[in-house]
């Protein structure tokens, strides 16, 4: 991986793969939505949720992002980094922070970073553009004090919820974003391919996980970086709890394992996938349970087309398909088994969230992990064990395109 010509973010955290033009594209997209919705200023109220912060500024963990219709935009640094707050609206005093001492580099000329300010000063900043109508992203997160300060300074100001429009615009990945996502997929694939060398009878899952995490970081992941195996125990006995066997227990022949990656890579874009492993030839019952998980997953993926079904509709159809196979799809409120990812492993589109009824679009990223159940009728008819395959796809006009290139099949180790 060759990133010559690119700069490091925060000295050594990651490489900045996005150009100033890309950040300007995003700001311009928000401004276009603002024009359509007739708002003068966009206020991102919890930009760390769904990573609007990183998307607009290249930095994680901002309290607010303010995008006026014209002129300078502002990223307000996180309260948790400067818990006491600062009253200076002109600049960011990085000496107040114990971590970030060097100024945040601007992603483009249009964006400026400021210290966390009291609500009154934030309201002053917003009011300086004299907006008549403010577009809110994630309005549920509005602090009462900020609301009071804005409405006191801007008599008669109106608010409009522009969350869905901005989320859907953000969900469509640009060429630069797709390139960055592919870097994350490449990193995870490299490590995955080395797993048969790392997983050995007599070794432990803890040892494997140490290597996985080490290499995820070495190859460019920073921050949210989940990667690891679970040893679910012998393939024909019910799995031991959610996390599987003690990771320090030695791996035995007959054990089955699940390995999942969910991490960012160079460029800070997330990718995720997960596969099953078995030490020795799989039993028919175990192989069948993985096969059902793969079939259910693949069926859902076959429905992912732009301008066709919504995530909610795909979920209904997938459930029916699974039932026809004689199995059950997990029913749990909040199990959003299809969702997008970006600078974090969760963003819109998402099942069981506000975008689930919106038809899909081209160039969105969708992570898919429907859960089916394996049963053990000969042991206890009440036992139901989760089984799933995870993978992430780029939705194209031709349908879902796998970016990591690792088959969904069970990996048999000897």
């Amino acid at each position: 991986m060759d990133y010559y010509g690119k700069d490091m973010v925060a000295r050594y955290e990651q490489v900045e793969l996005f150009s100033p033009a890309e950040y300007r594209r995003r700001i311009a997209g928000v401004r276009e939505i603002m024009k359509q919705k007739n708002v003068d200023t966009a206020l991102f109220l919890e930009p760390a949720e769904e990573t609007y912060d990183h998307w607009l500024t290249g930095r994680r963990f901002l309290d607010y992002v303010i995008v006026p219709a014209q002129g300078e935009c502002f990223g307000i640094l996180y309260s948790e980094l400067d818990e006491s707050g600062c009253a200076d609206a002109k600049t960011a005093d990085y000496g107040r922070y114990i971590l970030q001492r060097e100024p945040y580099q601007k992603p483009c000329e249009e964006m400026t970073f400021l210290n966390r300010l009291p609500d009154g000063k934030i309201a002053d900043l917003i009011a300086s553009g004299k907006p008549a109508r403010i577009g809110l992203v994630l309005p549920d997160h509005m602090n009462a004090g900020l609301y009071d300060a804005i409405t006191a300074k801007l008599q008669g100001v109106e608010f409009a919820d522009i969350t869905l429009d901005v989320a859907l615009f953000k969900a469509v990945k640009s060429d630069e974003e797709i390139y960055a996502i592919r870097q994350s997929a490449y990193v995870q694939r490299k490590i995955f391919e080395a797993l048969p060398q790392m997983i050995r009878p007599g070794g432990t899952v803890a040892q494997v996980n140490k290597e996985i995490n080490y290499y995820l970081s070495e190859l460019g992941s920073s921050g949210c970086c989940h990667g690891g195996m679970q040893n679910k125990g012998n393939m024909d006995t019910p799995a031991v709890g959610m996390g599987g066997k003690d990771p320090n227990a030695t791996i035995q022949y007959g054990d089955r394992m699940f390995c999942m990656f969910e991490a960012n890579g160079p460029g800070h874009q997330h990718y995720a996938f997960g596969r099953h492993f078995v030490m020795g030839e799989p039993s028919p019952a175990y192989a069948r349970s993985v096969e059902i998980a793969i079939k259910t997953h693949s069926y859902a993926v076959s429905l992912m087309k732009p301008d066709s079904l919504t995530l909610a509709q795909i979920a209904v159809k997938t459930r029916k398909y699974c039932n026809k196979l004689g199995y059950t799809l997990m029913e749990r409120v909040g199990w959003n088994w299809m969702h997008s990812m970006g600078a974090y492993y969760y963003e819109q589109y998402s099942l069981e969230d506000y975008s689930e009824d919106t038809p899909l679009r081209s160039n969105i990223l969708l992570h898919c992990h429907p859960v089916t159940y394996r049963s053990y009728p000969e042991i206890d008819p009440n036992i139901r064990e989760d089984q799933m395959i995870l993978n992430t796809y780029l939705i194209t006009d031709e349908g879902a395109q796998d970016l990591v290139g690792v088959p969904l099949d069970l990996v048999v180790l000897h």
Binding site: E46, L81, S84, L99, C225
Partner: protein, 374 residues
């Protein structure tokens, strides 16, 4: 998720908080934005790592003098969290908002939707801001808390024994930082969020010179023989406590100037620690140390170099805000690491965690305050 608690620490904290409420004539307090100073860990007496941001920002806790804790959320949570964090609207709080005043911590983070709901459901509700008093109370650690912080400090001592191994010429700074974080993971500290778990500041430069201006081109700077490497690590250990440790290393012979600067850094730290007695303020300590450094030709201190440590790696009191004027008390735990800088050079900082005692601050970490020649 498996959750572990320290019952003694929880009991100590609840006692202190109940005492505060009694002083203020309150029966309940609402604690908002537990991301600040990791108030959720503090209140629950939880032995664990901080919740990764932003997941804890919109949680809220109601503590009653009877010790009952109610966990709520101020916003429509994400799909997988709804069962864990009921919204204010979905919870009967009539026993809390019964007309008596209710304390509130971090009122700036009260969401409009919650305020609107409270006004409608409990028209007589009234908050009393106890934020300042709460953080003062939190800043004083019980003996059990101090022992837990000592344990976390010892983990950082352990980490630093690996520095001579991992700081090698030809390694990238990025590789050294990754290894520091990985080693902390092996010791039981995760690093999901760079700012909130194991925070590493590492800069290298030829000894005597300043580090390169950022941004650095990919892949970043490679350590060289003759470099001076500053390493400060702040973060969390799995017992619910924060810690901090910082030292400098030279990959070769130490220049006379660097040796002198380091001695000054250690002297400045010791001066600050000796002044950190009950009744003193961080503002006084900051001024005195600054004056001493200025006399010797060093640049003024302009950073958050002395501050509280507890469930947060950066908590009250701090020298950069109004809590700089709050008198110190025995049992407060401080990170002290004045940054000694000559004009045109990088700062050197000997950073350790101390507990305030009647006779000055006592160091909790055991790593010798030496400049190491590797």
């Amino acid at each position: 998720m498996f959750e572990k608690y320290n019952e003694q620490i929880r009991s100590d904290r609840h006692s202190a908080l109940s005492g505060l409420l009694a002083e203020q004539g309150l029966r309940h307090v609402v604690i908002l934005q537990p991301g600040l100073e990791n108030l959720d860990l503090w209140l629950l007496g939880q032995e664990g790592l901080p919740t990764p941001a932003p997941f804890n920002r919109n949680s809220a806790y109601i503590f009653g003098v009877d010790g009952a804790i109610t966990k709520l959320c101020q916003t429509t949570t994400h799909p997988t969290d709804r069962a864990q964090f009921p919204h204010f609207e979905d919870t009967d709080l009539s026993a809390v908002f019964d007309g008596a005043p209710v304390g509130i911590v971090n009122p700036a983070y009260l969401k409009k939707n919650v305020r609107d709901h409270l006004a409608k459901a409990y028209p007589a509700f009234r908050f009393v801001d106890v934020t300042g008093a709460f953080y003062q109370c939190k800043a004083v650690k019980s003996p059990a808390e101090i022992e837990a912080l000592r344990t976390a400090a010892a983990e950082y001592d352990r980490l630093f024994t690996a520095m001579p191994l991992l700081l090698r010429p030809e390694r990238l700074e990025k590789e050294a930082v990754n290894e520091i974080r990985q080693r902390m993971m092996w010791q039981g500290a995760e690093s999901e969020t760079p700012g909130f778990h194991t925070m590493v500041q590492l800069t290298s430069a030829p000894d005597g010179g300043p580090s390169a201006q950022e941004p650095l081109p990919w892949p970043g700077r490679r350590l060289q023989t003759g470099d001076r490497v500053n390493v400060s690590v702040r973060g969390y250990f799995s017992n619910g406590c924060a810690a901090a440790l910082g030292r400098s290393f030279v990959l070769g012979p130490v220049s006379a100037q660097t040796g002198k600067d380091w001695e000054t850094a250690v002297f400045a730290q010791e001066m600050a620690a000796s002044m950190a007695k009950p009744g003193a303020t961080l503002r006084e300590i900051h001024s005195t140390v600054n004056a001493c450094l200025a006399q010797q030709g060093y640049q003024p201190l302009n950073s958050a170099w002395i501050h509280g440590v507890g469930t947060s790696a950066y908590e009250a009191p701090r020298n950069v805000d109004a809590t700089a004027d709050a008198p110190l008390k025995a049992g407060m735990v401080l990170a002290i690491g004045p940054e000694v800088r000559r004009s045109g050079a990088d700062a050197l900082s000997c950073l350790d965690v101390f507990v305030v005692t009647e006779n000055g601050a006592e160091r909790l970490s055991k790593t010798a305050p030496d400049l190491r020649q590797l």
